[in-house]
Symmetry: D2
Subunit: 349 residues, 4 copies
Amino acid sequence: MVVVMSPEATDEDVAAVVARVEGVGGEAFVSKGVVRTIIGLVGDIESFHHLNLRTLRGVADVHRISDPYKLVSRQHHPERSTVWVGDAARRVPIGPDTFTFIAGPCAVETPQQTLEAAQMAQSAGATLLRGGAYKPRTSPYAFQGLGVKGLEILTDVREATGLPIVTEVVDARDVPVVAEHADMLQIGTRNMANFGLLQAAGESGKPVLLKRGMTATIEEWLMAAEYIAQRGNLDVVLCERGIRTFEPATRNTLDISAVPVVQATSHLPIIVDPSHAAGRKDLVVPLSRAAIAVGADGVIVDVHPRPEAALCDGPQALLGTELRELAQAVRQLPPAVGRVDASTRAHIA
Amino acid sequence: MVVVMSPEATDEDVAAVVARVEGVGGEAFVSKGVVRTIIGLVGDIESFHHLNLRTLRGVADVHRISDPYKLVSRQHHPERSTVWVGDAARRVPIGPDTFTFIAGPCAVETPQQTLEAAQMAQSAGATLLRGGAYKPRTSPYAFQGLGVKGLEILTDVREATGLPIVTEVVDARDVPVVAEHADMLQIGTRNMANFGLLQAAGESGKPVLLKRGMTATIEEWLMAAEYIAQRGNLDVVLCERGIRTFEPATRNTLDISAVPVVQATSHLPIIVDPSHAAGRKDLVVPLSRAAIAVGADGVIVDVHPRPEAALCDGPQALLGTELRELAQAVRQLPPAVGRVDASTRAHIA
Amino acid sequence: MVVVMSPEATDEDVAAVVARVEGVGGEAFVSKGVVRTIIGLVGDIESFHHLNLRTLRGVADVHRISDPYKLVSRQHHPERSTVWVGDAARRVPIGPDTFTFIAGPCAVETPQQTLEAAQMAQSAGATLLRGGAYKPRTSPYAFQGLGVKGLEILTDVREATGLPIVTEVVDARDVPVVAEHADMLQIGTRNMANFGLLQAAGESGKPVLLKRGMTATIEEWLMAAEYIAQRGNLDVVLCERGIRTFEPATRNTLDISAVPVVQATSHLPIIVDPSHAAGRKDLVVPLSRAAIAVGADGVIVDVHPRPEAALCDGPQALLGTELRELAQAVRQLPPAVGRVDASTRAHIA
Amino acid sequence: MVVVMSPEATDEDVAAVVARVEGVGGEAFVSKGVVRTIIGLVGDIESFHHLNLRTLRGVADVHRISDPYKLVSRQHHPERSTVWVGDAARRVPIGPDTFTFIAGPCAVETPQQTLEAAQMAQSAGATLLRGGAYKPRTSPYAFQGLGVKGLEILTDVREATGLPIVTEVVDARDVPVVAEHADMLQIGTRNMANFGLLQAAGESGKPVLLKRGMTATIEEWLMAAEYIAQRGNLDVVLCERGIRTFEPATRNTLDISAVPVVQATSHLPIIVDPSHAAGRKDLVVPLSRAAIAVGADGVIVDVHPRPEAALCDGPQALLGTELRELAQAVRQLPPAVGRVDASTRAHIA
């Protein structure tokens, strides 16, 4: 940490900072400038947090220098991780060597719709099935999902297709029942800072797909992953899904740079959700191509057999031509950037 | 709702939209322009949501015209509401005629610190005590609050000072125990879209202080209030606490305009939190003055007897000179804008 | 400046940074941490900028510690400045002791409309007249202003009313003609970073009203003021007019905190434009009240005798009841925060 | 346009809107809803702008439905355009069939540095040379460019390498001299709304590279292009270079979605500037790959023979390994998305 003193700070003010730092066993290096003095702190960062240095007289600012996350950092874990999803019968990797295509309906509505969507996804090359049984909706009057009934539909469809399931959990109280049915728990954008839910997911024993909060910085997102990791679960896959900006042409602005930024600082895999970022199906294929090219470890997209009858996010669901184009991109582009399709490496019993 | 057709839309495309709307009992008024056709929809909006009109051929856009919230809207409830906090012994109003000053420590740390902070708050004119027993923290390694022990400290301090208590709840599972101790539940900025928590608070039987999500639009915030109201609880007070923008000089940007904007569309009271918006104590007094002048129904600020020893947000806690300046502003400015101090109207048994 | 080395940096990397700093006569203080080394630089900041330290091996980041502006900084000019507008016949102050009310039409349309608007403004208590002869418009098909003809109308109206004139200049080539007619040049939000225009205004010999770029940080805004000051003109008044955020309820988000933030770091006066920030006339009165209470040195608002016929920004122009309410606020609130109406201190020959 | 009446609007209010619209030759279609009435306007949009409908009693809102730009719209020009840069001796296309690689130093510093950078760029496959002679800098104390001397260096380097030149113009007064030397004028992000400069560029007779304002919506950006087009110059290439958001990990957030969004509504070519968006050279290669894959018509990047000695933006300039990686991506990826390298189609006399 670096403490910046204000130009008016006196020598006693500087001494007070030094004394406080030394009082918890740290070292303080003083650099007296023409206008300002700065003090570099060396030692156990955690112990410095409780010092409230910013409240001391003469202190203008305190800059944190190190990253605040540890378990998810690449610093002591330079190798990028692969997370495996599914059971012994079929395990699918998400990681640096492969490109994983996840698809399915935004919401589980009926057994028939879910099965059809899963078959569409599978034909297009998807190796994991997404589908929501619990839906966080902005309006209390909107469809909130089928709950446990939806989870049962998903497990039936897994049986029929062999695709492991990723599904969202929105309440810490539901983690056990969702973990019992699903292969991977999804934490949605609105719950990225629901710390109780993160901790429950960390104790669930299942891999977690952690979407970025639509207004979270990359650092806050990695701290949310740290919450899960801190409960003993390092099987976390990050998912960039667009951030809130002033631009109205898309629902959110896909922060494509987040992929290489995360990969430079964390060992966790990272995938992209172009459907929710854009909110427009005509952008899903070009954004998926961009995700592959920038180096993402996978994409997750909405498909629906009849978007005009969808109970949730119909306008962004793919079918027909667009799904075929996406299938083609997922087959052809990953090899051009040094990856193989995840299905090639999936372990099938 | 208004459906905007694309320039290429055919007469059949228009007819398909009309048919779909009429199929659920709505009326569709077609206006054919030189370039585009627009279709005005009249009828039950709820029934239109499931039509997925945006997925139909030739549809370029669908504009919602009405506000999506109902119970919190001023449309059928033109009179602005007053929410009363506290029990028969001491009830404090928050509403259009008064100005309510809420103060206390960011976090409950010890009985002594909480009592001292409460006495500072009370001397400065506060009629409600804030203080956190459950703290949502960005880092899993930061102080997370004392939990039930903290609630007990708060009730002891209430007994000692007579000040009703506002305290945060961060997990739906904790709502019963928090509601048992507190006079008002606070939902924090990170949980504004935690719908399970909103619903639990709606069923708690206690008034709710609902902070704006730091990246929520005003409409989304009112929809969050609607979640609480829909469970039968209309005793909701909104709290503007700054939004995330590109400006780094303050922790968040206080959206002062949100006060009159909310008051124009909702009957719920609205207060301002200048401490968390700014993150700097030198801004708390001027921003509190601005809040009073713009027409807010109250302010909520951090005070701490020893900010340099605070376990949470020390740099923004007031004491000494600044607290006296704030006390003076809260006494003198509200009458200049047609309000009385809430303590004048508090009901004391 | 502080140089943060990456965890992998070697001793030679650190030595290379030190050598480079010393090579331009600076001093480098090295603090070796457990994980990282940080280096505090002392000396002439300007000479460090050309060192490109960020490109050296092992350098993770470079933090600037000092403010980059000098002439507009409060550091060597602790007293807040007053800028006087107008000639010997009538000089109006904008500064820390007074509250200055500036009003007029968004655009000068006709002699009659401008005179009526000026008389409305004057009756409401305004001591300076605003009005645009050159309008920067988003669309090349929108009304672009009357140009020199508009300036002549303004000088006629100044003669008739005695009100000094503030008017916008949008092109460096027009600075001489605008400076010849106007008492104060306005640089609009879209031109805040038009450096050639800033320099021309700096050489014009007239005071300048510098609006904040709608997406400029406070620091960038003060640097724009520095451009004007660097050409020898310190008569700069800053004007906060809202920043671009994700919130759609208002045209921009008025950053009310910018007022005390600027006052803490710069000696320049700062006023608020609530009309352009909100884009809605129902918010102009409450936001003007907030501006007074937060400590602004003035407000600038749109008035128009017939908003429904205005060629520019009609929806935000005040008249009738709202203007009377504003007039009352401008009379009554400033004394409550320790200021007098600027007209009290205006020098009239 | 659609006029939305407020719930309290009377029949006379509606009639007043209708009368006003019909008064300028328009048609008004009234749809009476249960709560609100909406009015669809048909006719000449331009004539409606002067009606100030939003100021009429009972009007809650006015929604524009059509795009405000015309000449740059794809509506009446469905074929996507190709812009050719250079003279008879060497003309380089930027458009839908090719992928154009533009590179060079951020600033022209010396003949030697510019020539070396141009040779690096050319070896890596670039067919156009970028380089700034006029630099818009946030600080008046930073290097502002060599001006005419810089233009002369550029023309010498063009002679030596055969690469046509793209260079920035920051002031309308400089357009003639820049147009005399350069093959393409660049309008930078800070000048996107400098309408006088846009118009001067529109009259220059040279193609224009129009960077997106860092806080401009896509619609505002297309309106800026319309300003140029309206002066008779349709040779405009758009350049996405990142927008300002809350995320601090990158200098700006590259809005990769802007590429397909623009291509859906405008016929103008669009390229991407990953260097200025990210501000970090380690992101330039992955973001360039993303740009190619998403369908951009080109990229423009910074290269410098000695980044550690650069007078401007050294930290983002490529050389060595990264430039070779970029060269490889520019050769290999475009064919994978159906494009050829622009050099293949360049016309060389």
